[in-house]
């Protein structure tokens, strides 16, 4: 006798218990702490904060630990928590020109005011696995110098002074900033919403999209005007206080691409901009973002938009890894009811096919065909 499957509730509880056990791994191995994750896997924390849209190293580290190192799962945990937080308003725009830079490079000029600063980078490391890191590695004390008081103006500002690059659009006073986590997205979308979407977007997706523009799918001739990484102050104007109150400092990476020019009969030609910004240190993300931002400006700059990276509906609808992973992975949920409906239809079609085939090959039909 057949008994319908029951006990799903027990199965779920048991699965979660097993997951917790697996997450801890061999209990003879020391448990990893949030500080260890934050300090030693710092770039993973940066990525989770960026794509999770929440600047909180401790919560991001917790999410990484809870997700067993699966960064998309960790981003999802942070996003779901963020969605429950009350929203007080938007901060004042941060001034990246006043950033306390730890790293700053420009590909467009040999030297720039404030200098090129390599800072902590994988660039020029030879990618040879280093056995000394396996255990007990104590790094040398880094070279240090007096903190420089020389200002580090943005390369795009230097170009802008001569009118060589389009001016950065200034927000109208009191204009509200769009927020696609609070309002439904409609197309065409303005650049504030596009940039928000890209800032939350999956690093791998943006990397592939940005790469595709370099290979000719929406080429926009980019130069790295500047990449800078360091600390900026965040300020907030509270309505009842009436002036900007500092909230603290955050680490940001900013990439400004300088792209091929535009111009018209009434406007002198000038370079155009692509912009990327992310929490923490994330050059791959911000460079990709800047390439895609520039590609998505095709319509506004009067260019033909034929490539995937120039198609805002395509890019914005598929950049979010929390959405994408949910929908791809939902295919593992039971679908046997709709499958049964397909199965029934397929059997019917096959049966009709077999009957038609049999009729066509019946002796009478063969004979007629032969005549």
């Amino acid at each position: 006798m057949y008994v319908a499957v029951k006990g799903g509730e027990r199965a779920i509880e048991n699965a979660h218990r097993l997951l917790a056990h697996k997450r801890r791994g061999d209990q003879n191995v020391a448990e990893i702490s949030l500080d260890q994750i934050s300090e030693q896997l710092g770039l993973a924390v940066d990525r989770v904060m960026s794509e999770g849209s929440l600047y909180d190293r401790e919560l991001a580290a917790l999410a990484i630990k809870q997700a067993r190192g699966d960064l998309i799962e960790a981003i999802f945990l942070v996003r779901a928590f963020r969605a429950t937080l009350p929203r007080f308003g938007a901060s004042e725009p941060v001034d990246t020109g006043a950033m306390r830079v730890q790293r700053r490079v420009s590909a467009t000029f040999k030297d720039i005011p404030g200098g090129q600063i390599l800072g902590p980078t994988f660039d020029y490391t030879h990618r040879l696995l280093d056995p000394s890191l396996a255990e007990g590695f104590v790094p040398e004390t880094p070279a240090a110098a007096e903190a420089s008081t020389v200002p580090t103006p943005r390369v795009t500002d230097i170009l802008g002074r001569d009118g060589l690059i389009e001016s950065s659009p200034q927000a109208a006073d009191g204009a509200s900033v769009g927020d696609l986590t609070r309002e439904p997205l409609n197309f065409p979308a303005d650049r504030d919403l596009r940039l928000q979407n890209l800032a939350r977007g999956d690093e791998g997706f943006l990397l592939a999209m940005g790469y595709s523009t370099q290979r000719g799918y929406g080429r926009n001739h980019p130069f790295v005007g500047e990449i800078r990484f360091g600390e900026v102050e965040v300020e907030f104007v509270a309505e009842d206080v009436g002036f900007a109150v500092p909230l603290g400092a955050i680490e940001l990476t900013e990439c400004q691409m300088v792209n091929q020019f535009k111009g018209s009969a009434t406007e002198a030609p000038c370079f155009t901009r692509g912009y990327g910004l992310a929490f923490g240190q994330s050059e791959r993300k911000t460079m990709s973002m800047a390439l895609v931002d520039r590609a998505l400006r095709a319509r506004e700059l009067g260019e033909e938009a034929l490539a995937p990276a120039q198609d805002e509906e395509f890019v914005m609808s598929h950049s979010d890894n929390v959405q994408a992973t949910g929908f791809v992975e939902h295919l593992k949920l039971p679908h046997y009811v709709d499958f049964q409906s397909e199965l029934g239809l397929l059997r019917k079609l096959r049966q009709e096919f077999a009957e038609a085939f049999a009729d066509a090959n019946a002796p009478d039909a063969m004979k007629e065909a032969a005549e």
Partner: protein, 294 residues
């Protein structure tokens, strides 16, 4: 650390107001997809976040909630969502269709006829019935605005030319109140007739795609078809092996690796109710291959 504290039914009040306003417009414009600012929920997109947000916005302490997936109350995702609301809203839950005031469903409409004091909430993956014909939102929105549905008829007719039938077996498109073509969610087309002139309010939530739509009670819902190829609901050529029901939607159970099959009701509450009322099936009906069960 910021220890989280959650509101009744999880969503904050501002979010509920936004969803509630969208629901009212959805009811006022039957079959039209209202955009809403879907929130990130603590469960994955594609796993019922739209349905969960709609349910969370309407649910109150007086409600009795039923959650089904594939017609069953005991599938893992149904259990997970039911537990979510039992925990965050403290509502009573049930598996009995006629006791429920709110029923959240994925892929089925219960066999037991719904009544006027019930709300059926569907989880919807892709709310746009034209999406498979035209991927661009800007285009499909224009087509709905002009009620320009020729493309859909062309697609259905191409099926007929190729297969002799409309080859859509689930998520079969319907026209609501003689205006909007609507996706009924991936329910089997067997369930389509239940949507027509239904006494219960039907609400549809698509979280990832950020759309809410509705069919008010007693509203005309017509499955798209052609005069020479009328809509035919899917029929099984065997009764349920457990309760003997002849007009319910059946799951095919593979009983061995030698072609053995049996067919039982997908709606487990309906099936159990019939068995409790003394109805019995063959327990071993296998229309494709006879097999004795030990």
């Amino acid at each position: 650390m910021n220890a989280p504290a959650y509101n009744f039914a999880y969503l904050d009040e501002q979010t509920k107001r936004m969803i509630r306003r969208a629901i009212l417009k959805a009811i006022a414009i039957p079959g039209y997809q209202v955009p809403f600012a879907s929130r990130e929920m603590p469960m994955p997109y594609g796993w019922g976040t739209g349905g969960v947000q709609v349910t969370a916005a309407i649910l109150g302490p007086q409600d009795v909630l039923k959650v089904i997936d594939q017609g069953s109350d005991d599938t893992t995702n149904a259990i997970s969502i039911r537990k979510f609301f039992a925990k965050t809203a403290g509502v009573a839950t049930t598996t009995a269709t006629d006791e429920a005031t709110v029923i959240q469903t994925r892929h089925r409409i219960p066999e037991t006829a719904l009544h006027a004091s019930q709300v059926l909430v569907y989880q919807v993956p892709i709310p746009e019935p034209l999406r498979f014909l035209e991927p661009r939102e800007t285009e499909t929105r224009r087509m709905h605005a002009l009620a320009e549905y020729g493309l859909m008829h062309v697609k259905l007719y191409e099926d007929i030319a190729r297969f002799g039938h409309i080859a859509t077996a689930y998520a079969y498109p319907v026209k609501v109140n003689a205006r909007y073509v609507m996706d009924p969610s991936p329910t089997p087309k067997f369930d389509n007739p239940k949507m027509d002139n239904c006494p219960a309010l039907q609400l549809f939530g698509a979280g990832r795609e950020k759309r809410i739509y509705a069919i008010p009670p007693y509203t005309q819902v017509v499955s798209l078809d052609f005069e020479d190829h009328p809509f035919e609901p899917y029929r099984f050529n065997a009764p349920c092996a457990l309760c003997g029901a002849e007009n319910s939607y059946l799951d095919e159970i593979v009983t061995d690796d030698k072609g053995g099959r049996m067919f039982v009701c997908s709606d487990t509450d309906y099936c159990e109710g019939r068995q409790a009322a003394g109805h019995h099936g063959s327990l071993s009906a296998a229309p494709y291959k006879e097999k004795a069960h030990g």
